[in-house]
């Protein structure tokens, strides 16, 4: 277990996870906004590809999670302290997800693919990512004000 706790290993595993995640998005063509919009356009020439991406990811993660749980010999949520455990449905969840959906539908870009696509140097992606970071900062400013 000790190698798993070494800070250098945790940096490496996070890097590797990001790398494999990015490859997955590229292989699945989820980095192409037009392909994503093809899935969302149910009234047009509907392209169900994104559903297969989700099936592949959910089955893989579901199976591996089963073994991770078993290796922990406990409830996943209890061992893995950073996994959200609350199950309360609230207005923020519904509002936030709906706002995100409108933004996603406008461009076909969501956080992962936009960050992978950033290296393409396309100015449109740079505009999107800059605005996304402005949205992050905007939320944090509003949220921090509300707390005081």
């Amino acid at each position: 277990m000790s190698y798993k706790q070494s800070p250098a290993f945790l940096i490496f595993s996070a890097f590797l996870s990001g790398l494999v995640f990015g490859f997955g998005l590229i292989v699945a063509q989820m980095t192409n906004p037009a392909k994503v919009l093809g899935f969302l356009d149910v009234a047009g020439k509907w392209d169900p590809s994104l559903a297969f991406v989700m099936i592949g990811a959910l089955v893989t993660l579901g199976v591996l999670q089963f073994f991770i749980k078993r290796s922990c010999q406990h409830n996943l949520d209890k061992v893995i302290t950073h996994v959200p455990v609350h199950s309360k449905l609230d207005v923020k969840l519904v509002m936030g997800s709906s706002i995100f959906g409108i933004g996603w539908g406008l461009s076909g870009l969501c956080p992962g693919p936009s960050l992978v696509g950033l290296t393409s140097g396309l100015s449109g992606i740079l505009v999107f990512v800059s605005a996304m970071f402005a949205g992050f900062i905007g939320f944090k400013l509003v949220h921090q004000k509300a707390k005081h």
């Binding site: 940096i11 590229i26 969302l40 009234a43 990811a57 893989t60 991770i68 290296t119 393409s120 992050f136």
Partner: protein
């Protein structure tokens, strides 16, 4: 652009699931990209290192792919104005709703989280509705 790519979509999905499982097993973290990246703001913290490492990995993947294969098709039709609006809504909405397509749509659903099911339903519906309005109404 290729239409209906079942095998490459499934294969890409498997890689995404593998990446999320790796982060869960080794770092005990959920591979929700909006949360990982937004957590880098506003200032450097002790847990910023793994967040930055994940983000660098994500961006390096495209560079390595360029070297190996040479092409990542990106067709982006929206204007700068729409892209800016879209980015703002995605940034604000994912933090308000505590997750995006990866955090809710993959990690949350794989955990059978009720919150993530509701969130995924919400963003799928509003995204499809937005595309419908933009492409077939306006």
């Amino acid at each position: 652009m290729d239409y209906l790519t079942v095998l490459s979509s499934l294969g890409g999905g498997v890689l995404i699931g593998l990446a999320a499982a790796m982060l869960l097993y080794f770092n005990h973290r959920v591979a929700g990209i909006s949360g990982i990246v937004a957590g880098l703001l506003p200032q450097w913290q002790t847990d910023s290192v793994w967040r930055l490492a994940f983000l660098i990995g994500l961006m390096v993947s495209a560079s390595l792919w360029f070297l190996m294969d040479g092409s990542i098709p990106i067709q982006l039709d929206a204007s700068y104005g729409i892209l800016a609006l879209s980015g703002l809504l995605v940034g604000y909405g994912t933090l308000l709703g505590s997750g995006c397509t990866s955090g809710h749509g993959i990690c949350g659903l794989a955990r059978l989280s009720k919150r993530s099911m509701v969130a995924t339903l919400c963003f799928m519906l509003t995204a499809a509705l937005t595309v419908y309005v933009v492409r077939h109404v306006l």
